[in-house]
């Protein structure tokens, strides 16, 4: 099981969502994808995308304007 980290800090719509999807497609089952970003809407929308794809969000962390989302593939 691997951890894949992607950094989309400073990126705006639709890049965080798209990069998240790209990482999830490349990940193997059981891998964890960790995505770090600053785009406020994506903090809401990445979990929405996970829900629609039936993937589990392991946690959402906040620090100032930054967020970190962990997803189980």
């Amino acid at each position: 099981m691997a951890e894949i980290e992607i950094d989309v800090r400073g990126q705006t719509c639709p890049v965080p969502l798209v990069e998240c999807r790209k990482a999830l497609r490349k990940a193997a089952e059981g891998d964890e994808v960790i995505i770090v970003g600053t785009h406020a809407a994506s903090k809401k929308e990445i979990p929405m995308a996970c829900e629609s794809m039936g993937l589990e969000v392991l946690g959402i962390e906040d620090k100032d304007t930054e967020w970190k989302i962990r997803i189980k593939r």
């Binding site: 400073g10 990126q11 705006t12 719509c13 639709p14 890049v15 969502l17 798209v18 998240c20 999807r21 790209k22 497609r25 929405m48 995308a49 629609s52 794809m53 039936g54």
Partner: protein, 139 residues
Amino acid sequence: MTGKAVLVVQSGDMDKLYSALIIGNGALAMGMEVSMYFTFWGLERLKKGGLEKGPLSKMHFLGLGKWMVKNRMKKANVASLEKLMDDYKELGGKIIACDMTMEIMGIKREDLREDWIDECGAVGTYVYEAKDADISLFI
């Protein structure tokens, strides 16, 4: 895959191409299947080197408005149409080029970015795919 989105891209305006590609990418990112049908002025943008050539639909002002908007987009770190198209293809988005437009506008298949195009089709292809789609848009 959960659900399907089909988009008709009839306009070749820069801002509308942004809308189309952002929605297309967003739908793919949400796990949907996506097809985009390029017709008329939209198809012109699939010509080699043509993607960024479209005017603004409003406030183009002979290119000055577009230049200003592009500057603002650069400051806001908005992705280029070229990158959005690459992402769209990488995520498995489909592109269909309108047969009839190619004929009436004298566009040959080799004038277009053939690496982007999955197939050439007519209205039947759109209707067939759109009839069981969850999202269908005309841009």
